[in-house]
Symmetry: C2
Subunit: 495 residues, 2 copies
Amino acid sequence: MNAQSPESAYESLVQHSRELTWTAGLQALLEWDQEVNMPPAGAQSHSEMSGIIARIVHRKAVDERVGGWLEAAALKTDWPLVHAANIREWKRDYDKARKLPEEFVKKQAEVTARAYHVWRDARETDDFGVFAPTLAEVVDLAKQEADYYGWKDERYDALLDLFEPELTTSRCEALFADLRAELTPMVERIVAGQGPAPGPFGAAAFPIEAQADFCRRVSGALGFDFDAGRLDPTIHPFTTGIAWGDARITTNYNTSDPLDSLSSTVHETGHGIYEQGVSFDGTPAGQACSTAVHESQSRLYENEVGRGRAFWRYWQPGLNAQYGTDESEDDLVRRVTWVEPGLVRTRADEVTYNLHVIVRFEIERDLFRDELEVADIPRVWRQKYKDYLGVHVPGDLDGVLQDVHWANGLFGYFPTYTLGNVYAAQLFDAARREIPGLENAIASGDFKPLRDWMAEKIYRWGRVYTPEQLIENAAGSPVSTSFFIEHLKARYLRQ
Amino acid sequence: MNAQSPESAYESLVQHSRELTWTAGLQALLEWDQEVNMPPAGAQSHSEMSGIIARIVHRKAVDERVGGWLEAAALKTDWPLVHAANIREWKRDYDKARKLPEEFVKKQAEVTARAYHVWRDARETDDFGVFAPTLAEVVDLAKQEADYYGWKDERYDALLDLFEPELTTSRCEALFADLRAELTPMVERIVAGQGPAPGPFGAAAFPIEAQADFCRRVSGALGFDFDAGRLDPTIHPFTTGIAWGDARITTNYNTSDPLDSLSSTVHETGHGIYEQGVSFDGTPAGQACSTAVHESQSRLYENEVGRGRAFWRYWQPGLNAQYGTDESEDDLVRRVTWVEPGLVRTRADEVTYNLHVIVRFEIERDLFRDELEVADIPRVWRQKYKDYLGVHVPGDLDGVLQDVHWANGLFGYFPTYTLGNVYAAQLFDAARREIPGLENAIASGDFKPLRDWMAEKIYRWGRVYTPEQLIENAAGSPVSTSFFIEHLKARYLRQ
């Protein structure tokens, strides 16, 4: 390794980071294609292609030259803010990537690929017993993974930190304890007071073309740039930022309810605008901050905006014109704010949703504390659903087998969904205070002030700050669940 | 390098070839996406991604271990047919890939990327002069490229061999001299005898959805498997075989003429069925044989099948039902076999098409013999169009600037189009002799006998034989232009 000046090492890091980012873009494109375009017979060869690009990305990520450049860059201590942040994040990524032995990564990929198929089989027979032995393997590997990464207070911290830098189990517990205590009685009050359920939405089927057109219009109005992105149909909606100028969102069309595709479009639009809003220059400072911050953007648009009266004041006539329906503003608001404890997280309303997440968080925490065995998960699941949501879980299919995350080896991910809700409420509260007439702008179909505020407060900062610091800077107060609880009270208990 | 047994070296080559094939699949997917899906703002970053994956593919292709494995494998001399062919083709690919210095490849990529934009500018102003200096650079680089590859009789041979192994300038001259001598007077006779031109096809616009549906039905009937492929709209139709189980064809919809999208769909379906028909096992024996053999498949379906009376006997009622038209079988056959000398290759009929190709071949040949200067191309172009096609070329846009090939640095490619026609006629002649009732099957919508015959004669052989040998084996006679000339005479001078 030649002695390099810190500045020249920094330049090498930028080049390498840029190449790694575009290579990861190839991987993102392949994954997007698998969900959106791939013909079924291509599954096996696409899976081989996935393995190849994953290895290429991994090898670039662990390139030893990065270690040398980081050492050389560290010799300068007065880097400007963004440079220092890039160096910090490069080091974080490099250290993480090098901590997992290649053999281990390969084994984990094999086991989770198999686990996915076993999970699907278990769902076919509605029997967690089929999945349990494989899930136990996946959990064991995740424990090893956490140990490879290393942790201070407890093992689960290492997994949380993968998705949300510096998030810890104890921090989650503190936030979620507040929430759980508030939410369970709140749901009871809301359900008791909300009157009769809305009837079916129109009688006819809603053609996919009409829905696609409407979703596209709403997404564009919210600020998604179709010159720099796409909206495509898929089974499980997601967003991917492939490269600069290319962010892709997806939605799913339910021909009996056009609010489904709309709600998922609005959610993914939040993600998509964020991906289009970062500089995407190939450095960490040009990337989205974290999983929960990403989720705060989708949930802010989906919930704070998309379930709000102002949004529907503007879109109600357009929706009726598009679908030949005759829904009043009240009807629509009532539909999108209907609260009903249920079994399935992805079908949950904005309020009960977080109780689904808290159940999963507590189970994961106890698994990684070795206080819970995989075989006991269904029992604990049923008990918690009874205690927190008041619902009886009759089987595994819509119970413990409903999510793909654990089959994919994703532990520590669920908490970011609720953290996203918490961040979203806090950000929207700040936006409302700082943008004069925000609700009026939304009610007149003008979403630019909100987007501009978010660009200024969130998008342009990339990964310069840690997630909690970024939210605190943007909102002007430390992260707290109180804004989310206030938001729910204001919307569900005072209207 | 460890001493390795020939068998174990062969296994290493198989593994490496498979990984190289899937990596090239990633590149193919990226290119497909750029033509079909990419949002416009993504152009710059996608171009960076293209560069990255091209370098990854190149580095795998020149991996020195391949040289060692090839040496070890060569110690065994009694390999079975397919093994021997794979070793021969691996060696061919490896030698070719290693002959170009990385610096040269990079420079060539830069110059052709720039040339593409200059070509577009020149088209804007209809002025070859704008393009000439850049084209001269591209030609010089192609000469260097040919010299890096090496050649025996003349430089242009090295470029022809890239697309069509073992094709030479003198072989092309022999084939094309026959053709040119026959075609120019034949075109005059056909034009003189074919009566009045067909009128416009219906009055209304033909919706894209209806065309897409019809194209899909025809493509499926011909044998394209939509479980292992896709059909998408694009500007310039093409086919790409991404991986096993994933071949993608494209077409272009012209709302004023549904025969355009149909004809390009049938053409690409020929390519697509070939890609779906090879074993795609990651070795050369599982890949399509050559550019001209590929083209023989598309042209056989487009011309021999798709412009034939039997095809229209079956599809005429379906086409009228789909579009609400009232075309007789005679009307349709007359439309698709209308001959008219014109300026533009891609709009040419089946007969005059080859004269367009011969003009380009002769110009390329003379360029690489240093007998023609770039600046003189337009003059020669005009003269040849006058001599061979009897048409006056008024400007460069629909003259020498019409094709993108030269801007892309592709020299030696054009001849494969006409060679494809020659092969196609010879194969179809053999198929007709060997498949009892082939025309009746086609007239009743049954394309399976033809597909099965082609699978047996062409698809399953991959790159086991050289192109001419493969065609000779399949057709039962040495490659000759006589079948193509007979086909044209039978269709255009006796009906």
